[in-house]
């Protein structure tokens, strides 16, 4: 299959890659660009482990073609920390033990940050509905909710 050249922006950096026309963005990130933070849980939009933002919108990168992101702005989990300084959400996940195997964690962090950017003070119900597309087989979710609320509180008072 003929590959196509694509120029895009990822976490603020200009990036060029080639990919096959039917290759999901998730595979491009992981296999061609070494950005393995986004995970493949299902490949069909159900689990949210592959969540990234595309032009400011949260999307499943398994449901986007690599060729579609020409000229777009993408953010991934790799863009969340500032150097060695973890984002408050990342720190809160450590503090609250809000992860076990960690497969779901990058997607949940990207999703939670997208929510807090819009709504710095969500209720637990709003948060749970927002994260309904992010499945976790390990934690039972309560610690994830506690961690996000703790981070939200710290970010509001920062």
């Amino acid at each position: 299959m003929k590959t196509i050249q694509v120029a895009t922006t990822i976490n603020g950096d200009a990036v060029e890659f080639v990919c096959a026309p039917d290759e999901p963005l998730l595979d491009v990130l992981r296999n061609r660009l070494g950005l393995t933070g986004a995970k493949e849980g299902c490949g069909t939009g159900d689990c949210g482990a592959c969540t990234v933002t595309l032009d400011g919108r949260m999307v499943c990168s398994c449901l986007v073609l690599g060729v579609e992101v020409e000229g777009a702005k993408i953010t991934t989990i790799e863009g969340m920390a500032t150097g060695n300084q973890l984002h408050p959400l990342q720190q809160a996940f450590l503090d609250h033990a809000a992860l076990q195997c960690g497969i779901c964690t990058p997607g949940i962090l990207v999703a939670a940050k997208t929510l807090l950017d819009r709504n710095p003070n969500p209720t637990d119900t709003e948060l749970r509905y927002w994260l309904a597309g992010n499945l976790c087989r390990c934690t039972g979710y309560d610690k994830i909710i506690a961690a996000v609320q703790d981070a939200a509180q710290k970010m509001r008072t920062a």
Binding site: D22, G45, M58, V64, L65, A111, A132, G133
Partner: protein, 287 residues
């Protein structure tokens, strides 16, 4: 497989008409990419319509709204005027998938995927929405109700794409509502659903009604008997009972793991009744 991103509808139509193999139009991709992954389809050509001017814009037109075919669920939900005028249409569209899916999914994709359970479709049918179809033989406006042909099939001809949806101007005291039944609170496919669109007079009597049912037949049903059961009433108990009965009577569902024929038939009636009560209240009626 080839990927094309035409910058006019005419070019999209030309590419699709000239293609000899399997083609897929790509809007939000939340059905198309799932089908690719599952190996259900191996297209020779994918036509990404998102670079056609106007296809991602939502604007007022003739007192109503013109919604580009690739406008996402998230964008619909953020449009306050649209949500105020057509709460039933927008709540149906926003039930599709997760926030991630909402970032991409379109109502037209939901319509053209032609699942009888598509959550955007009953609201659009109840609204008497039309779609603008562009193709090798020019442009035509078609009722949303006329697009699905059978599960997975539409009445669009080779080379045709939908470029926008039009929601008409609203008479005073009009509103709509959409309800679906799923076994959990999020992320599932409707077992039965109902969209109801009503107009009232100043005294609260229903002067116009459209009732559409989803997931209870091969395509979404527009049920005239439901409308007749409530037009001329103030949605009293007798009218609601007649509405529920007419809705159940119209169902021709299948038995599957999501629901039995009996369950779907009963629930569609209940949902039609409840959606009518919500739409009536939104239109300013008092029960």
């Amino acid at each position: 497989m080839q990927y094309a991103k035409p910058t006019t509808a005419a070019e999209a139509a030309r590419l699709l008409s000239a293609a000899s193999g399997v083609t897929r139009v790509l809007a939000g991709g939340t059905d198309v990419l799932v089908q690719l992954k599952a190996g259900m389809v191996e297209p020779d050509l994918i036509v990404d319509i998102k670079h056609i001017p106007g296809i991602r814009t939502l604007q007022a037109e003739a007192g109503g709204f013109r919604i580009g075919a690739a406008v996402s669920g998230a964008e619909l939900g953020e449009h306050a005027a649209l949500c105020a005028a057509w709460p039933g249409v927008t709540e149906g569209a926003q039930l599709i998938g997760s926030k991630q899916v909402q970032g991409r999914c379109s109502m037209v994709g939901n319509l053209c995927n032609a699942s009888p359970a598509g959550d955007a479709v009953p609201g659009l049918v109840a609204a008497n929405a039309t779609v603008r179809v562009e193709g090798p033989n020019g442009t035509r406006d078609v009722a949303v109700h006329a697009i699905p042909a059978s599960p997975g099939k539409t009445t669009l001809q080779k080379g045709e794409i939908i470029t926008s949806i039009f929601l008409p101007a609203r008479a005073p005291r009009s509103s709509d509502a959409y309800l679906r039944f799923i076994p959990r609170s999020e992320m599932d496919i409707a077992v039965a659903s109902a969209g109801v669109n009503l107009t009232l007079d100043a005294a609260g009597t229903i002067t116009a009604a459209r009732v559409a049912l989803g997931a209870v037949a091969p395509t979404v049903l527009l049920v005239d008997a439901c409308a007749k059961a409530i037009i001329g009433t103030k949605l009293d108990a007798t009218a609601l009972a007649a509405l529920e009965k007419a809705a159940s009577a119209a169902c021709k569902p299948i038995d599957d793991k999501r629901g039995t024929i009996e369950f779907r038939t009963k629930v569609a009636g209940v949902l039609a009744r409840r959606a009518a009560v919500i739409a009536y209240g939104r239109a300013g009626g008092k029960l």
